[in-house]
Subunit: 244 residues, 2 copies
């Protein structure tokens, strides 16, 4: 981790990863899984189910980026993963189409980490702040609105029809924001996302989210992830970028 | 003008035109033209110049939609129109490249009509509210941010690489918001925009902006424009859509 050469003045816009970095997907999905399952007369461990669901996230997108399948929305990938998981848990018969749709939409409404809104508001005073996630444009619009996050605009892998860490979504974001890739700072808690951003020529900031995968789930740490800036949360990031 | 069959409950999202409908481009551009010209040692009638500049707007986009030229950003079209106008006014020599760039960016920072922010905030409580303009994505992001307008997301003709009133930007907006065209209400003060939206299957709301072209410039009125809803301003629109 070297921070020596980073110049906040060279940055014109910030792109934020959402799932894990800005919102606590695990708590949100677990609560909704537990609730919907109970209504369907089934007891499911919501947190373990959320972890298993999230575990299928990168592989399902990898099949799109690898050309094994055409572009598909994250909602479609989530639904396919859900169908598999319900089968594996032996509870497929208990979930009709409507309840599966409701579970897929759990990813549209997730709680923000408690430092997120205030940190974004500070960063927004100096930079254009954009959401840049693998979630679909509508999903992100709903999520950001419900969580009250003050982003200036929504960007999505959907606009490039390729998922992060492919270079296309990062470069599409820079083009739409009318900045050079080197003027755009990608903020994420995942090393794979920052590596993709760096490969596309973006600047990178790591934010630690040690509880993303739960108390025992582990998470990327600053020591393993190469980012130009490393911050403990969005407030610390605002401090490091000199935002009052 | 018939409002009889309009059902606000069938609408899920609102798309707002920006130049004229949400912001007062004439006042904003005129002030900036006058100021920059004076600094260059030239007296220009800012309002007349803004009118002439805006007069080249629809024809320049028509050449893109008509296939006479490839996609070009609104900034590029504005610059070409500006170059022509400065030549016609016999003041081309007084404006270097930097001052022309500054004038083009005048369109990135314009004052909102005074009812806009509050009306949007009310409408946002019930609907997803999006900017949908022929301005580029970055231009709109800057404009909305500077004017403090509480949109949920930015959409732009740039995302479809076709200008309104071509159907593509309206349909791209509906697709990205994950709504049917008939669930998206286009809000504009121009009959040509609402006609384009209706042609693409959207719902339409007319908002009167009688001063868009100045006190003597004329503007579309509800009597001439066929919209499913007609409102005096964004607050009146919120009333008509039942938003507290």
């Amino acid at each position: 981790m070297t921070e020596t050469e980073f110049d906040p003045g060279a940055v014109r816009a910030l792109a934020f990863d959402i799932f894990g970095t800005t919102v606590d997907w695990r708590t949100g999905v677990a609560e909704q899984v537990t609730r919907v399952a109970r209504r369907r007369g089934v007891e499911l461990d919501g947190e373990a189910f959320a972890d298993a669901w999230r575990g299928k996230y990168l592989p399902s997108m990898g099949r799109v980026n690898g050309g094994e399948r055409r572009w598909a929305y994250l909602d479609v990938l989530h639904r396919e993963s859900l169908d598999e998981l319900l089968e594996q848990h032996g509870v497929a018969a208990a979930f009709d189409d409507a309840s599966r749709g409701e579970l897929v939409r759990a990813w549209h409404r997730l709680p923000a980490w408690e430092d997120a809104a205030e940190g974004l508001a500070r960063l927004r005073g100096r930079y254009v702040v954009a959401a840049l996630s693998n979630g679909g444009f509508a999903l992100l619009t709903h999520l950001v609105k419900a969580a009250g996050l003050p982003f200036d605009c929504i960007l999505s892998a959907e606009l490039a029809q390729r998922y992060k860490p492919d270079p296309a979504p990062y470069l599409t974001a820079a083009r739409l924001l009318d900045v050079e890739p080197g003027e755009l700072l990608m903020v994420a808690c995942h090393g794979w996302d920052l590596a993709g951003a760096r490969g596309a020529g973006l600047r990178t900031a790591f934010v630690a989210r040690p509880l993303e995968n739960g108390p025992a789930g582990g998470a990327d740490g600053a020591a393993e992830v190469a980012g130009e800036v490393a911050a403990a949360d969005f407030g610390d990031l605002a401090d490091r970028l000199g935002c009052p």
